[in-house]
């Protein structure tokens, strides 16, 4: 798509993929962090990781296996989160550990069979051997995430404010919540091979965390978080490929650095000197 301005096809694909993944993850990240369900994102990213490892082991396309695993965990998480008497920490802790164990089991097994090099892609991502259809897939998911927020904006904001109050106003919160889980699962699974199972959580949480240092309204966060994520991801891709460094880990470190600077510069912590 961007070949006319970036002739280097590897760099072009990397920038397209990182930007697309960033838009989807950052938009969903705003909802995830503001509702306070970061642990759900964490668990689903490791479910995709486990699915990818299983796919790699059995020769199933990694993305398809990751999508299936993420959706399976999303189907489990939805009802578990909805049940008031179930501690989310406990259930998500169990699911997360299970996913991590499955992923490590198959990766370790692959190392004994000599195919461990392929498995590192699942851990840290790979932007140098992407197909155009993978980029298109990510673009479609980003568009779906954006559309989801636009169409259900008032319901999403009400749930972010207070789920019980949203429910009491007559909003059916469960369909929105399940729809959100579904889109998170798909986004994470499609981003897995680019960003890596261990790092994708950075893309889900950090852009929203940076945006929240400067934005006083939820609407502005939905614009600032993807913008920040795209800028940092593109910078990471360019720097990583220019200096032959691993792109996703480098970008994750840049995210952390920008977040630290954002906290220092944030006007949210400023105490007024005004006497009136």
């Amino acid at each position: 798509m961007l070949e006319f301005i970036i002739p280097n096809i590897i760099l072009c694909r990397a920038i397209e993929a990182m930007a697309s993944a960033s838009i989807a993850c950052a938009i969903l990240g705003v909802i995830i962090t503001k509702i306070g369900i970061s642990s759900i994102g964490f668990t689903m990213s490791h479910a995709a990781f486990a699915g990818g490892a299983i796919g790699l082991f059995f020769g199933i396309p990694v993305t398809i296996a990751a999508v299936c695993a993420s959706l399976f965990i999303a189907v489990l998480i939805g009802p578990l989160s909805d049940r008031a008497r179930m501690s989310p920490d406990t259930t998500l802790g169990i699911l997360f550990s299970m996913c991590m164990a499955v992923a490590i089991f198959f990766i370790a097994w692959m190392q004994t069979t000599g195919s461990g090099m392929n498995a590192t892609m699942l851990l840290y991502g790979n932007v140098t051997s992407l197909y155009q259809h993978e980029v298109y897939g990510l673009l479609v998911v980003s568009a779906v995430a954006a559309l989801f927020v636009i169409v259900f904006y008032k319901e999403i904001t009400a749930i972010i404010f207070h789920r019980k109050i949203a429910e009491s106003t007559g909003i059916s919160t469960s369909p929105i919540f399940y729809g959100l889980l579904f889109i998170i699962a798909i986004s994470i699974a499609l981003s897995l091979t680019i960003i890596g199972g261990l790092l994708i959580f950075v893309w889900l949480v950090t852009p929203a965390a940076i945006a929240s240092q400067f934005c006083r309204s939820i609407r502005s966060m939905f614009f600032v978080a993807p913008f920040v994520a795209v800028c940092i991801s593109v910078a990471g891709a360019v720097a990583g490929l220019s200096f032959a460094l691993p792109v996703a880990p480098l970008t994750a470190v840049i995210f952390a650095a920008v977040f630290a600077v954002a906290v220092l510069l944030s006007p949210m912590r400023r105490i007024t000197n005004s006497k009136n």
Partner: protein, 251 residues
């Protein structure tokens, strides 16, 4: 208690149980409330007052009995009931960095009625503005809700429910965060709602400054209604105080 016109709330022997609990929180509760009644629900802590409110609007599962609110079966169509009934919750705390202004929170009261695909229009904005004026919080309209005091936040939640134009208004401890002036002011507003024909159900431990209206007193104890009768505002405190200790005294 006899209800002259067709009742808005009809509970017949309902039982409500929390998931995992050994015994139900509401046991065989029956209640009829008509349009424009002012209902005060009293009783000791843990008597089931909040459970009663949340059962009325279908936020908790009713395991036995039948419940009709605004002519709707609560067990089958809880969401439809909540579109027509307001509910001001008891326990809330909003982070100072919560990214929502008072105006946005009051407007959220309209969202359920609008449904999934409709955006708030000028009419909804007017209702939200009027609700803020009624509660005297329009000067805070553009402030983040988390920066307000507990009492001011309580008023915002009441305004949110008034903007909803409910047929029934349920309030759980609405006076708990309010000073004396604000209590009387909120009582006046609730009395205004009753005069418009809106049914108001209040769970409270505070009985001072109540509006001078006929009151439908309901006292709960141990998950059951132990008293259900009409009284005057001046009598309610004594009634609740004495009846709360009595196991069964259905009037």
């Amino acid at each position: 208690m006899a209800v002259a016109s067709s009742p808005l709330i009809v509970l017949e022997g309902i039982v409500t149980a929390y998931e995992g609990a050994d015994r139900p929180s509401l046991r065989n509760v029956s209640l009829r409330v008509g349009p424009g009644e002012f209902v005060m629900v009293g009783g000791p802590n843990g008597a089931g007052k909040t459970t009663l409110l949340e059962s009325i609007i279908g936020m908790l599962p009713i395991t036995c009995g039948s419940a009709q609110v605004c002519g709707i079966d609560v067990k089958k169509q809880g969401t439809a009931v909540r579109k027509r009934a307001g509910y001001v919750i008891q326990n809330f705390s909003f982070d100072p960095l919560t990214p929502f202004t008072v105006r946005e929170v009051v407007m959220m009261g309209r969202y359920g009625k609008l449904g999934y695909f409709r955006r708030p229009d000028r009419h909804d904005a007017e209702l939200a503005e009027n609700a803020m004026k009624t509660l005297e919080i329009e000067e805070f309209a553009d402030k983040p809700i988390g920066t307000l005091s507990g009492g001011q936040q309580q008023k915002v939640l009441i305004a949110q429910n008034i903007a909803k134009e409910p047929e029934i208004m349920l309030l759980d401890e609405p006076y708990s965060n309010l000073d004396l002036y604000s209590r009387e002011y909120i009582s006046t507003i609730l009395a205004g709602l009753v005069r418009k024909g809106i049914t108001v159900v209040v769970v409270s431990h505070a009985f001072d400054g109540l509006p001078d209206l006929p009151i439908h007193a309901v006292v709960m104890n141990n998950g059951s209604i132990t008293l259900d009768r009409a009284c005057r505002a001046a009598e309610i405190e004594d009634i609740v105080r004495t009846t709360s200790q009595v196991p069964v005294a259905h009037a």
